[in-house]
């Protein structure tokens, strides 16, 4: 292959115009499984969001790699449809301007000839479109195809970086089904790619409000001094969904809420809330601190799991005025299924900062609202002067991740009048109001970061494996437990049994 001009070199005398604004370097993006929903609903609309904002390099092309016998025109038509339906405003125009940069490559994932011809196609694209030999591979296939694709990329040398050209791979969750399969997947990735070339996507980390956790903590002087076991009574992290499993019953039976949500999204949010300040905001600076949080959480002994966790399934109920099925009545769900649709876990981060302060993680389907939030509940003042010494409502700092993204602080204020009466009031910051305008999808940020080679918002191998270690210990305990999952009526905030996790007068929030 002829050596293309190296864009990373400092020979571009105008290069700061590209890098100063976080414009990605020229590259070709190869999407494996490009005929699937993810490409149409998320990836290409997000790429066009980047194009609209001027963040895509002009030397850019997309190759869709899949088994179906599609032409370039069919592929482009499908993508245009996706951008029209799921893209931000004006992104269709961006797509129309770039449509010729999208081509389709038909091949079986396991066919070596398909990868050789892919290589030739990419070299041609380099010559025509100035993509400079840089490659970004995206595994948008079912996990069962990962192994074959990784093997072929390594065998054909497409995964090799040389002469300043990058080759990176983005892997979609789930990263394994348990610790053992996660380790096996990571080992396989490593055969072709160095860790710095690997970008494991958890789209939660691409959300502005999740990133704002770091900004809130480390860009302000007032919060961090209180952010420890001396002042914080406990932390509740909730990811609630109002929908049921719908047509995903078969998949969900294998995963349950603990694998589907807690192992990845909730653990990621937990690490951002609990981590120490990193020395720098570099990818490894941040991820080193996140991993330390996970390492400070002990695996559960099987005998402790029933005490420290609650799992449950939703039963038939009413939601939004309509009757809805119970979990075991859903399509693809076994009649005697023990898969949990709700889980609550009490975790102890055993380090200097958090010793004795529990973190409650909870996630469920068919809860009353779709909401994601982190509630930092503070301890009562040491001496209660008001209301006859009766405890007041505790102060809560609430980080709302979705919807109504923002931050709120609950505190007591004197009710006007001759009596000294205290009432809760709330100070509210709403993202949508303070920073209006259109918000980019999480995938936009993550795709851009992958093109820039910035792994800060991606899960590193050790993070994934530590999270699985904790979750595996819970799943093992449940498997050995004599108890079936609890039940909760669809449309309620979960089983009554979840209350026993919260000792000492604490209560679950009803966000």
């Amino acid at each position: 292959m002829a050596k293309p001009h190296d864009p990373a070199s400092s020979s571009n005398p105008l290069g700061d115009e590209l890098r100063g604004g976080r414009t990605a370097r020229p590259c070709a993006l190869v999407i494996f499984g490009a005929t699937g929903d993810l490409t149409k609903r998320k990836l290409v609309p997000s790429l066009m969001g980047l194009a609209k904002d001027g963040l895509l390099p002009s030397g850019f092309a997309v190759v869709g790699f899949a088994r179906r016998d599609w032409s370039d025109a069919t592929f482009r038509g499908e993508l245009a449809d996706g951008v029209r339906q799921f893209g931000r405003s004006d992104t269709l125009r961006a797509f129309e301007g770039l449509a010729e940069s999208f081509t389709f490559h038909q091949s079986d994932f396991g066919d070596p000839a398909g990868y050789r011809s892919l290589q030739q196609k990419l070299e041609q694209i380099d010559r025509q479109r100035g993509t400079a030999g840089n490659r970004l591979f995206y595994l948008a296939t079912p996990p069962s195809a990962y192994s074959t694709i990784l093997e072929q990329l390594a065998a054909t040398g497409l995964s090799r970086e040389q002469d300043g050209r990058f080759a990176r791979i983005i892997v979609e969750k789930p990263f394994g089904h348990d610790l053992q399969t996660a380790v096996a997947l990571n080992d396989q990735v490593r055969q072709g790619f160095h860790e710095r070339q690997v970008f494991r996507i958890d789209h939660y980390l691409g959300k502005e409000t999740v990133q704002n956790i770091l900004a809130l903590r480390f860009a302000n002087g007032i919060f961090e001094p209180l952010w420890n076991e001396k002042f914080v009574d406990h932390v509740q992290i909730t990811v609630a969904e109002s929908i049921g499993v719908g047509s995903r019953g078969g998949y969900f039976e294998e995963s349950g809420i603990i694998r589907d949500m807690i192992q990845n999204h909730l653990m990621q949010v937990l690490t951002l809330v609990a981590m120490e300040p990193p020395a720098t905001l570099s990818a490894d600076g941040v991820r080193d601190e996140k991993v330390k949080v996970l390492k400070a959480i002990r695996s559960f002994a099987p005998a402790d799991v029933d005490r420290e966790t609650v799992r449950a399934q939703y039963t038939r109920g009413s939601f939004g005025g309509e009757d809805v099925k119970g979990y075991r009545e859903e399509e693809g769900v076994a009649e005697h299924s023990t898969t949990e649709t709700y889980a609550a876990v009490r975790l102890q981060v055993e380090n200097w900062r958090w010793a004795g302060t529990p973190f409650y993680l909870r996630s469920g389907k068919r809860l009353p609202r779709r909401v994601t939030e982190v509630a930092i509940q503070f301890k009562q003042p040491p001496h209660l002067l008001f209301q006859g010494g009766r405890p007041l409502q505790p102060n809560v700092l609430l980080l709302r991740i979705q919807p109504d993204e923002g931050v709120a602080l609950r505190f007591g204020a004197k009710v006007p009048g001759p009596d000294v009466r205290i009432r809760d009031v709330r100070m509210d910051f709403r993202y949508g109001t303070a920073f209006g305008g259109e918000t980019a999808d999480a995938y936009e940020r993550l795709l851009l970061d992958a093109m820039l080679g910035d792994g800060t918002l991606f899960a590193r191998r050790d993070e994934v494996e530590e999270a699985w270690r904790i979750v595996d210990s819970i799943v093992t305990g449940w498997r050995q437990s004599r108890h079936r999952p609890e039940e909760y009526v669809a449309g309620t905030w979960g089983p009554a049994a979840a209350d026993r996790l919260l000792a000492g007068g604490r209560q679950w929030r009803k966000p």
Partner: protein, 314 residues
């Protein structure tokens, strides 16, 4: 960020200058009383002081309209109009309604006055700036004959935005702007931000062609009647970065505030950048390659979007 929001604007209400503060408080009260059980909040993020000639009022208002979508503000619209015999003010507000919440996202104080009243302006604005919020001055008027006018308003603010396309004599006035910056003033020029697609497209060209320092580079910039300042800014940049010898070719047409084309030659490599509809189209040719042309949108939004971006930068 979530849910549909709608905007509600109060009709402008003339008020004597000393009563502007009271008039704004009356607007808050009326929003609250109309809101029933809804929460009412003022969500102002900045003070915005915009100055323009009355002929450009609609343009300034359109820019503020866009700005408040992104950055809720208390906005002073200072309109120079020599037909006015005295200083007149009116106030209005815009509320964003979203579900049960009402957010006041724009408090607008429009002040009309003859140019002779200019020295009184800082005294009008100063007591009405919201405490603890960053203040941005948008000087959207020609360069002042007395620079102290600009100085006095800029002294109230943390950051000044100018638009060099308003300059009547860019050859002499752009260096004055540069001198202010050199003295430490925080100034952002919308004219420079407007050139971002041009700079970007040229930078992309150099991703494709190898550039050796010291190679002789010539550039020809074609521009219309309103784009002299932009052409000079772009030419100066190319001269500074590439050591390019720049030739300007001015046409009489009024075809917008940006150049019409740039032809750049460095040894045997050529870059040709032309406006074609909504895009800049770049043709890059080297001795070895003729790349497919690439496009960069010539604009990424309205002047209001550009103003919001300038304020983010400031």
């Amino acid at each position: 960020m979530s849910g549909a929001a709608s905007l509600c604007r109060t009709p402008p209400r003339p008020v004597p200058l000393p009563q502007v503060g009271d008039a704004l408080r009356a607007i808050w009260r009326s929003c609250s009383s109309g809101a029933g059980e809804a929460d009412v909040a003022r969500s102002l993020a900045i003070n915005f002081v915009g100055i323009a000639e009355v002929a450009d009022e609609a343009e300034l208002r359109a820019a503020v309209e866009r700005l408040q979508h992104r950055t809720p503000c208390r906005a002073f619209l200072l309109l120079l109009d020599d037909r006015e015999a005295q200083v007149r003010a009116e106030v209005a507000a815009t509320t964003r309604l979203q579900g049960e919440t009402h957010d006041i996202v724009l408090e607008e104080i429009a002040v009309r006055m003859p140019a002779a009243a200019f020295p009184r302006l800082p005294g009008v604005v100063r007591p009405l700036l919201v405490n603890d919020l960053p203040s941005h001055l948008f000087w959207n008027a020609p360069w002042p004959q007395r620079e102290s006018f600009l100085d006095d308003l800029a002294a109230l603010c943390d950051h000044t935005v100018v638009d060099s396309r308003r300059l009547h004599a860019p050859h002499t006035e752009l260096p004055r702007l540069a001198a202010r910056r050199a003295r430490g003033a925080r100034i952002t020029d919308l004219g420079w931000l407007r050139l971002r697609p041009w700079r970007r497209a040229l930078a992309e060209a150099f991703e494709r062609l190898p550039h050796s320092a010291g190679s002789s580079t010539t550039t020809v910039i074609h521009h219309g009647a309103r784009a002299e300042a932009a052409a000079l800014l772009l030419g100066d940049w190319l001269a500074d970065r590439l050591g390019a010898a720049v030739t300007y070719v001015a046409g009489p047409e009024d075809d917008g505030p940006c150049p019409r084309s740039v032809q750049l030659r460095a040894g045997r490599d050529e870059v040709d950048l032309q406006v074609a509809g909504p895009n800049l189209v770049a043709h890059v040719t080297t001795a070895a390659h003729c790349f497919l042309p690439y496009r960069v949108p010539v604009s990424r939004g309205t002047d209001g979007d550009l103003l919001a971006a300038a304020i983010d930068l400031g």
